[in-house]
């Protein structure tokens, strides 16, 4: 089986999770990803969950082996503040298809590795910038994290209980959905466009834009009907028929009976056919149903409820902790946990690949590198001699 992105070479300048998750997906699908990393000394914990651990650090090798975001990648250390290192980067860029960077706007220009510069060296390059607010506009230079981008885009304001504070959905919505996944899509679209135009282009991904796009139906309700969604007041924020319920064993089970026939099935199964006409009732009736369901779900354990209700055509699921996720038969059947043999650590477990393609599936071909693991290999391939590599190390361009 061939890999769908075989032969696509990506230079990854990013240091934090959104960029690393983006190139993890591309690497899993067969792209050759080279992480271009800043030098740092052993013993200094790196900032950024995408930075490779130092090989001299005690647990560096182990951290690398388990790091899912950097698998299928090579690590090259280049101190881009030095002209010698920049020259290496330009040579690499000549033979690459994609560059991804996740700095604050302006940084790549200062480093001399921005699109204007690299596009002259290689007009076919696809250059993707992934930032919080985008490459232009009044907030372009503001620092930020996921929590801030979901604030500005309206997502955080609608997550939480009625009357309660906003609840942070980890960093899933801005970092990964708004950022990483939109960057992958932008890069793919540019690769397909290049097949026709023969040209590369600049792809400007803002996590805030991505989140707003995800809220397209919330925006629809506002633009079309003047409805301003409030925390905990929509169907998807929790109602009797769409809710997590506490069970006897202090765990939770979720019910998602949006369609009337699922709601009927649930009411029938819980012995309250009289509730059937009141699926969308408000006020007292809603409270009555909520308290009935709340009470009844406390009478059995989560897993008992699941076994019972899953036979009755009712959308139901167990709320899992992360360890439980990876012992679930469906998750295991779908290969969402995979074990990879490591020469010294034995079997290493990693999260699997979500995109299942029948003809060109992805694969994990190598585990994450330690910092600078592929310096020599990559430089040799570019034609650098051993002496020249020693020179580069002396001036501090590599480690």
């Amino acid at each position: 089986m061939t890999l769908p992105l075989e032969g696509i070479r990506i230079l990854d300048l990013s240091r934090v999770a959104p960029g690393s998750h983006c190139t993890m997906i591309l690497g899993d699908l067969g792209a050759e990803v080279i992480k271009v990393e800043a030098p740092f000394k052993p013993g200094v914990p790196p900032i950024g969950s995408g930075v490779s651990p130092h090989p001299q650090d005690r647990r560096g090798e182990r951290l690398a082996a388990y790091h899912p975001l950097n698998r299928n990648k090579k690590s090259l250390v280049l101190n881009l503040r030095l002209e010698e290192a920049r020259q290496v980067f330009y040579k690499l860029a000549e033979n690459s298809d994609v560059i991804l960077e996740g700095f604050r706007p302006g940084v790549v220009r200062r480093l001399g590795v921005d699109y204007q510069t690299v596009g002259k060296i290689n007009p076919k390059i696809i250059y993707c910038s992934l930032s919080g607010y985008g490459q232009d506009g009044p907030y372009q230079f503001l620092p930020g994290h996921d929590i801030n981008y979901i604030s500005a885009s309206g997502a955080l304001g609608v997550i939480g209980e009625r009357g309660g504070p906003p609840i942070i959905p980890l960093n899933l919505v801005a970092d990964y959905a708004g950022g990483a996944l939109h960057a992958v899509i932008g890069i793919f679209a540019a690769l397909l466009a290049r097949e026709k135009t023969g040209r590369g282009q600049y792809v400007d991904i803002a996590m805030t834009d991505g989140v707003i796009s995800l809220l397209s139906m919330v925006a629809f309700d506002y633009f079309c009907n003047g409805v301003i969604l409030k925390r905990g007041e929509s169907m998807l924020g929790g109602t009797p028929f769409y809710n997590p319920y506490l069970t006897k064993d202090d765990k939770y089970i979720t019910i998602g009976c949006i369609e009337p026939h699922f709601w009927q099935n649930l009411c029938q199964e819980l012995g309250r056919v009289d509730f059937i006409p009141y699926q969308h009732a408000e006020g007292e009736k809603r409270e009555e149903m909520l308290s009935y369901f709340t009470d009844i779900f406390c009478t059995k354990t989560r897993d008992e409820w699941f076994e019972l209700l899953k036979e009755k055509d009712i959308p139901v699921a167990k709320v899992y902790s992360i360890d439980e996720v990876f012992s679930d038969p469906q998750v295991l059947h779908r290969h969402m946990a995979v074990e990879i043999e490591h020469p010294t650590l034995g079997k290493v477990k990693q999260v699997g690949i979500p995109l299942k393609l029948s003809d060109t599936s992805g694969s994990i071909r190598s585990l994450a590198p330690t910092l600078g693991k592929h310096n020599e290999e990559i430089l040799c391939n570019l034609g650098y001699t051993t002496e020249q590599i020693v020179e580069l190390r002396k001036v501090g361009a590599i480690i």
Partner: protein, 397 residues
């Protein structure tokens, strides 16, 4: 200017927002999307299910972002004549998207096996909750259920509080729609080399598990099981949290990096907090309660204007109407106004991805149910009489 996906023809069999959002992105980027819709009601509220009809439908269609840049043909796939039309469409299509429960497309005779015989270059993407195989394959479900199994829901909420739904952003849109787009584009790239289409099997649950990669890492590598409201980014840490302001609104700070933490402590006049960024117990409570108090002394917007000058990651927690008055969001054209012949200016959410050479565009508003049935059938070579026959047979409306 060319569009990135110009010339790519997509047949969209999906009835729910997960599929609609997937093909919205592809349509925005230039693909030609035809919605193949049923002759009967699906029981979902207007805008969420099949295309609307009638006068009120026209308004809903105009504002519905998820079906813009699409055409609508009505085909009853339960009739042989309706299927026949679908096969003709499939011959010339590049991509088919479907979001039924596994097994339905086989029953309708429009599954991958059947279509691939007609058109081996077809890319056939199925988006489902649990995937096309495995023990849960036939279970019904919604976003709430997939984020339960995928491990996301268990982590979202306050310490000791119940799990809180992140709307349907995580499973439906991130785990499903966006993974669907990525799967389809991957298969299109692969087809340039192999010449073959393939089946792309997207499970929203798989997508959610993948989004939790770093939480899985913590578990696999360190046996750390993160608990709701207790992680670095769950809201329990003073440096990464939402604080209520004087006007009842909220402001968020995201000072993960030590230099940002220093900046916030300085700005709030408590340099003594600087060494205690990750402190636990009483000290953490002291910092939290100080921050809570101090943020209540000014309005959200006053805090934003004050702190944004000091290199501190902050954000205003907006309601949806405020989002579309923000200068940055307007600057990035995340709201577009489109002229409608009778409704005047219609506002829609803009296009998230910005391309320098092949930008996406909104070329048409969402269709009414079956708005393009005749046009599409005529393009396939059907005569007026044949179309009338199809109507009589119940294959279309």
């Amino acid at each position: 200017m060319a569009l990135a996906l110009e010339g790519i023809k997509i047949l969209d069999l999906s009835w729910v927002p997960v599929g609609h959002y997937c093909t919205m992105i592809l349509g925005d980027l230039g693909a030609e999307v035809v919605k193949v819709e049923p002759t009967f009601e699906t029981g979902l509220p207007a805008g969420l299910g099949v295309s609307p009809r009638g006068e009120e439908g026209r308004r809903i269609a105009a504002f519905n972002p998820q079906n813009r840049n699409k055409k609508s043909i009505v085909l009853n796939l339960r009739t042989p004549q309706g299927r026949e039309v679908f096969y003709k469409l499939a011959e010339k299509a590049d991509v088919i998207l479907e979001g039924f429960r596994p097994g339905v497309t086989e029953r309708l005779g429009v599954d991958y096996q059947t279509i691939a015989k007609i058109n081996p270059r077809i890319i056939y993407c199925s988006i489902s909750g649990y995937g096309q195989d495995g023990p849960y394959r036939d279970l019904p479900g919604h976003d709430a259920n997939y984020i339960s199994i995928g491990g996301a829901l268990g982590l979202i909420g306050l310490r000791d509080g119940p799990p809180i739904f992140p709307q349907n952003l995580v499973a439906d849109y991130a785990g499903g729609s966006l993974h669907g787009v990525m799967g389809i584009l991957t298969a299109l790239i692969a087809r340039e080399r192999t010449g073959r289409g393939q089946h792309v099997d997207i499970a929203m649950t798989d997508g959610v598990v993948s989004l939790l990669s770093l939480f899985a890492f913590e578990y696999f590598c360190h046996q750390t099981i993160e608990k709701r409201g207790e992680g670095l980014i769950g809201g329990a840490m003073p440096f990464y949290s939402a604080y209520q302001t004087k006007d009842g609104n909220y402001i968020t700070i995201g000072c993960i990096e030590p230099h940002f933490w220093e900046n916030i402590c300085r700005a709030l006049g408590r340099e003594d907090f600087i060494p205690h960024q990750y402190v636990e117990g009483e000290k953490r409570e002291e910092i939290l309660s100080y921050f809570r108090e101090v943020f209540r002394t000014k309005t959200r917007d006053e805090w934003f204007d004050l702190l944004k000058e000091k290199n501190i990651p902050i954000g205003k927690v907006y309601s949806i109407d405020e989002v579309f008055t923000d200068h940055q969001i307007l600057y990035r054209r995340m709201v577009e106004e489109i002229e409608h012949p009778t409704l005047g200016k219609v506002r829609q959410v803009g296009i998230a991805m910005k391309f320098s050479d092949t930008p996406g565009s909104i070329r048409s508003l969402s269709p009414l149910l079956g708005e393009h049935t005749e046009e599409i059938l005529q393009d396939l070579g059907y005569t007026e009489e044949q179309i009338e026959e199809l109507r009589k047979a119940g294959a279309t409306m």
